[in-house]
Symmetry: C2
Subunit: 363 residues, 2 copies
Amino acid sequence: MALNVDRDTLSDLARGAAFLGTGGGGDPYIGYLVARQAIADYGAPKLIDVEELRDDAMVMSIAGFGAPTVQLEKLVCGEEVELALTKLEQYLGIKADAIIPAEIGGSNSMIPIMLAARRGLPVVDADGMGRAFPELQMNSFSANGIRATPLAVTDEHLDFAIVEAASDKKAEDMTRALAISMGLRVFVGCFHMSGRQAKETAVRGTLTAAYNIGRAIRDGRAANNAVDSILRCLKTTSHYRNGKILFDGKIVDLVRETARGFSVGTCRLAELANPSSTCTVTFQNENLEAIVNGHTVAMVPDLICIVDRETGEPIPTQALKYGQRVKVIGMSSPDQLRTPQALALFGPQAFGIDRPFTPIEAL
Amino acid sequence: MALNVDRDTLSDLARGAAFLGTGGGGDPYIGYLVARQAIADYGAPKLIDVEELRDDAMVMSIAGFGAPTVQLEKLVCGEEVELALTKLEQYLGIKADAIIPAEIGGSNSMIPIMLAARRGLPVVDADGMGRAFPELQMNSFSANGIRATPLAVTDEHLDFAIVEAASDKKAEDMTRALAISMGLRVFVGCFHMSGRQAKETAVRGTLTAAYNIGRAIRDGRAANNAVDSILRCLKTTSHYRNGKILFDGKIVDLVRETARGFSVGTCRLAELANPSSTCTVTFQNENLEAIVNGHTVAMVPDLICIVDRETGEPIPTQALKYGQRVKVIGMSSPDQLRTPQALALFGPQAFGIDRPFTPIEAL
């Protein structure tokens, strides 16, 4: 049954998207509030399957860009989000027919819903990652030759810039520098593509997958087995079949800073019953690698999600706290994220990890 | 007699512009080479008086932007300069009828000549400062309500951005951040205005003034009295009547770093015969304040120029060296730079100097 994005489904969708954000993607609660208000004000946007797009439709992406630690402090008006799309449309001289999320994770699942509601456009049930990544060029669109640029960057003062660069990595550098100068809570209208290109490159069905995961957390919580419920749900998805608990314990050390325009840091955990058994999770906005007692147990682009050990509530990196009792869940990434050209953009090496990518099912 | 900008006059013009750069404005020798090559390739551009502009003509500015220490290392191709104009034209949907220098100082006098030659456009004998300033919003255009934005920023890879912001100070912050991410040697197409606006706000006749000063240095050097020749010449100008020698000595200490996208530092000098008599010149790309034995003797926006004490050759901040024997010349700034709205943008306070502006003739 096709999912309706509306007031009833939105909180499950937001919670599941927070899970898929693997720690990042922007604060999910703020995103939820923003999308809920837009649906109340403008009505719910239509969720369409990528196959419903005409081949020659013009599809554009929208995403919050910056560091989650800052996004937590600065609210979203909506006008600056719409401006990012409008400026991109004006610059290209063409209007968007549909909005596709650049990333499903965190508030970046909600912002496209809000924008689609404001503009009366459909939102595509797909994205460019099936998770969240910290940098502009890290997604299945870029991995398949679709350019992020020209892109429009806007802030809450409605100041903006258009960026064009020969590579998406250079565009990331320029946009990151701009974002820092603009207060590190900006929105980017980017990745304009045809309906056909969206069909060829998007990670499909990820809004629906997020909703199903979010619902599984809620249902499992009512039955007091939230984490089991997540794992059962993951097995039913096409993208995240190999899910497992990587660690169960509490946070005993946390180093987190906002640097170079990102939230970066390390979270260390210890087993409750056996404190000498430890797990380390490193992150750059999103969780990158989980190491248990010296052995890597999951690494980017596979997903590493830290959730409350009782309620299954996903905990983004900006909300991690000393003493939290959590479970670390790892799961396989969508197949599209494991191709050689994808791993070149967002495999471990792209984050300075010098160990080659090994799928979670082989670890 | 009207000045022709050509191969014969160019080196005097470049030397005089270096003098008016008050230490900054980009490396004058590189600018000279670039303009000379463009004149050889495309022919000399026509120099026109601002009064020759039609009221409804479209006038645009071009300037190198960054830190002189970096500009010294990275050469200019020309294509990236033309791209800054072309992208601004495309974004505005209108073509330039003439080029007006944003600043007369240093290579930023030569870049407009190069661009005008490439594009077959006239260059206006005027600019927005009558000197050089380090930041985008520091000029007589901004002081009179003409906006720097939209502006186009380009680099040597032909990557570019368009920036629009509610204030020119915010645009400066965004452009500075972009410039740093693009390698700190970028070109900015900006300050589009009507011919009428140019007449109302530009500092007039400054290319001619630069040429006259440059020629005075050359003539004086032949007669072994270059600095006297400069001072005599300044008296004949409409903008720089009050010129004097502030200090005569050698450089005994120099602190210079490339920070926040600028060359910033302090140069300390001592008298040759009496080393206990000292002078300190602070700079941010351009010289800001000269203090002799504890007393301010000149301050921004008045001009402070360090020249070789024998040849009168202007020494930009990036070329200052320990042991150089120099004279520090101070002179009054054009009247347009001393209005309250001008001083708010580029008086001493804008550079963190907590002493109020006092004209050089009163110090």
